[in-house]
Amino acid sequence: MTPGITLKSARRVSVFDLSQPGMGGSGITDPDFDGETLPTELAPVATRAKTGLPELSEIDVVRHFTRLSQDTFGVDLGPYPLGSCTMKYNPKRNDTLAELPGFAHVHPAQPADSMPGLWTLFHQLQNHLAAITGMDAFTLQPAAGAHGELTGLLIIRRHFESLKQNRSVILIPDSAHGTNPASAAMSGYICKIIPTTTEGTLDVGAMREMLNDDVAGLMMTNPSTLGLFDPNIAEIAAALHENGSLLYYDGANLNALMGLVRPGDMGFDVIHINTHKTLSTPHGGGGPGAGPCGVKAFLEPYLPIPVITQDDDGEIKAQFDRPLSVGRMKSYFGHVTILIKAYCYILSNGAEGLRTVSENAVLSANYIQSSLADLLPPVFQQRCMHECLLSGGDLDVDPFDFVKRLIDFGVHPPTLVGAGCVHFSDDYDAAMLIEPTETESLAVLDDMIAQFRKVAREVELARYMIETAPHTTDVAKIITDEPAFLSMLEADKPSSAKTS
């Protein structure tokens, strides 16, 4: 393969295909050091002859990756209604602000008092997250949603350890995201699965039967990954707490709730937030995200170190000496630049803006659901939150094929069973989870709806063409066992008259 040419083939080309020995690595020079002679002491152990890295010129690198980017679909190119992933617009300003030298070029091992701006930002962000969620304290350390789950579950563990209670079970609804059971397993818990009722909510009766001394907690997403708000949440929380168990909130769906309902008020004890969903930090092709974890006050001592808190004298500090802490979840302080973007997002919106965000997210999803109801009826006959679960069961084609066809019309497919990040039980195997997000205008929503209909019409048209074939004969299809029409009898007359 030659570098540089043939525009459309970048995806077929690996960096090794573009490699030319002796190319690249240029400009790595220093007038005062030769860059070649190994320090005497190091030489005996620095014996690597070749790494086998590809050798490209700078221009080939720029071209290759520019082209690859053009072969990648992102929110910047079109609507991306991938249910549960909240693919909304990521404001460009936030990306730039997070890269200011005073953030990007800070070494994490610098003296604590050399980065007061960062401490202030962390502390403010923690407060804002607490305000949004109704929790009492936050750690910004977790690297993503799943990591927030693990952090939260370990906090739950520590809680029971300090109570000297031995609880080994985490209850998880069957509709939960895969990270929930996986994180539960990683924190040493046994998962027990709670079924979903035919209304799409948690089966409270089944749950009550599962409650016993061994249950450490329940992990829930509300709204669930079926897009529904569970109205029994207060009852669930009460039952859990009565059992001495804790309630964990998977905040991946918080985009539906800002300014409307707070997890803390619903009775959750530990939560995480996916900033890359709700707070609009870009997903980067699969990460990095950030998964701040929030707790009620009684769990605060267990937060991972370091904890960023404000002293009585107003100084913000990173505390390491926290004997009850779960320990450290990752290096340093968390995904700083991602957190900065979330902070910017909150400050740009304010209270009313965030409420509008959630209102519009819910409104848009319900609009899609209502507009497509004849074609794709909702799996549960209810209003949805920020995403709607529609049934493709009435379609004449496999929903998998159906959504792929949307690509041809510029729409990213919604989430399907086994094709995305969400788990559906077998009952909904023809379902699709559509999350339009609040950043698509009505025009885009209407266009998106039109594309769904266009694909459906293609199927209808194909069926019509078959059902009405042949089309190339002089007369059209004749169905002989059809009852004779009056008009046909009448039509007979002249011809019989002729022959008589």
Binding site: G35, T51, L53, H107, M186, G259, G284, G285, G286, T337
Partner: protein, 456 residues
């Protein structure tokens, strides 16, 4: 309604039209299904919304309060380094298509991103000299924890032998991840002279069955380990060898894979990622083919489209949480894809010669500085083993005071490791990258000497 900050796009008339279509008369009614007593009564307690220019000013003010590598010469390392980041890396990573894509679940419209992730796997595979590499995990510390769990799953032995000279934060995270899964961690010591793993200690530890021996080279004192020996020893006792490395050093130092490591993990920050106060960085994991099914996270591979044309897609998802749930190899879902992109672009720019030069220059400069500093009375190298670009010095003065005085002169002179260190009372860890000029190094050495003089 107040003007919105640019990304809420439903106008009042749109909202009315949509409510009509849904068949409710207000958002409040639309949300009827939420019990009233759960509904928030007051606005969220947040500051007033900021316009873009207010926000910009506010963030600039916060940023300006932080000392950084523009304001201070940075000799800090400890797994995260001030290597140069070529501007091409920033440019490519800021392209919106890459930045605003999700995990490539729809391969038909993600071939560019999939190529990036696939090439990342291949290029890192060469660097580590190991055949299978995943698409990244959160950071070096969680890479270690995930690697350890791979070894445990593969061996069904719940015991790890861990060298005590891996990064303390990595060890701390490993302990957290393992504690609740009933894994025993046995720490082995290091040789007080060389700073390397104490092979005798290792031998003893290996008398009991272990899932893996975990070691890191260069270790947390900057010393290059005798990996070959460590790995051989582990294999002799049927333990897997899980080896942490510093990717930049692999430009001149033999890859762990070459020595037979079973699992190689690393903190990838040095490969074109900015310091960013430590995050996001990137965890890298590579392994032998036979351990592929134990890998956490995404894997990209080649497949065919319905016309039989070769195409790229996520593969082996049956390991992952969205398929296998509580039996998954890991819970990881969002990973560090954008950082993988950065490091791929970085490694493509550097190539064979470039990485060698970066590694060599870093080493040359570190050794030059070390030699200069060693000449100062009262200063001695903590360990005699060969170091790459980072070294420990034992001091006779108070480390905190010294660092503070040097900071006032515009130097972040090193990491104070006096506290959690049993070999010496006053100790500093200094890292040097290719970006420091000779003049700066010599200026620093002079300042160092003078400051020592002042305070001793």
């Amino acid at each position: 309604m107040s003007p919105l900050p640019g990304y809420n796009v439903l106008r009042e008339q749109d909202r009315s039209h949509m409510l009509d279509k849904i068949g409710v008369d207000s958002i409040d009614h639309l949300l009827d299904f939420i019990p009233t007593d759960l509904r928030l009564q007051n606005p969220l307690d947040l500051p007033d919304p900021m316009s873009e220019w207010q926000l910009t000013r506010h963030l600039k003010e916060l940023a300006a309060q932080n000392e950084n590598t523009d304001s201070h010469v940075c000799f800090l390392g400890g797994s995260v380094y001030d290597h140069h980041v070529p501007e091409v890396v920033n440019y490519i990573a800021s392209r919106g298509e890459f930045l605003t894509a999700y995990t490539p679940y729809q391969p038909e419209i993600s071939q560019g991103l999939l190529r990036v992730l696939s090439d990342f796997q291949l290029v890192v595979g060469r660097l580590f000299d190991i055949p299978v590499v995943n698409c990244s995990v959160y950071d070096g510390a969680t890479a270690l924890a995930e690697s350890a769990w791979m070894a445990i799953s593969a061996s069904s032995i719940h015991r790890l032998i861990v060298s005590d000279n891996i990064w303390p934060e990595h060890l701390a995270v490993l302990q957290v991840y393992m504690a609740n899964r009933k894994v025993e961690i046995e720490l082995i010591g290091h040789d007080a002279h060389s700073g390397k793993i104490d092979q005798a200690d290792l031998d003893i530890a290996l008398q009991q069955p272990a899932a893996a021996v975990i070691a890191q080279s260069p270790n947390c004192f900057g010393i290059v380990e005798d990996l070959k020996e460590v790995i051989h020893n582990a294999h002799q006792h049927e333990a897997l060898a899980v080896i942490g490395c510093y990717p930049t050093s692999l430009g001149i130092i033999e890859a762990p894979g070459t020595h037979g490591a079973d699992i190689v993990y690393a903190e990838g920050q040095s490969l074109g990622l900015s310091l960013a106060a430590g995050g996001p960085t990137m965890g890298m994991i590579g392994t032998r083919e036979s351990l592929t099914d134990y890998l956490p996270g995404r894997l990209v591979g080649e497949t065919k489209d319905i016309k039989g044309e070769s195409a790229l897609a996520l593969i082996k998802q049956e390991r992952e949480q969205h398929v296998r749930r509580d039996k998954a190899t890991s819970h990881i879902c969002s990973n560090q894809a954008l950082m993988a992109l950065r490091s791929l672009v970085y490694l493509s720019l550097m190539g064979e010669n470039g990485l060698r030069r970066v590694a060599t220059l870093s080493a040359q400069k570190a050794h030059h500085l070390c030699a200069e500093l060693e000449r100062i009375p009262g200063i001695s190298r903590s360990y005699q083993g060969p170091f790459f670009n980072e070294f420990c010095l034992d001091l006779t003065v108070n480390t905190a005071t010294l660092l503070d005085k040097l900071r006032q002169q515009g130097f972040h002179a090193g990491i104070n490791c006096s506290a959690n260190n049993k070999d010496a009372q006053q100790r500093i860890l200094i890292a040097v990258t290719e970006t420091q000029s000779l003049a700066t190094l010599d200026h620093f050495a002079t300042a160092f000497a003078q400051t020592i003089d002042q305070i001793s």
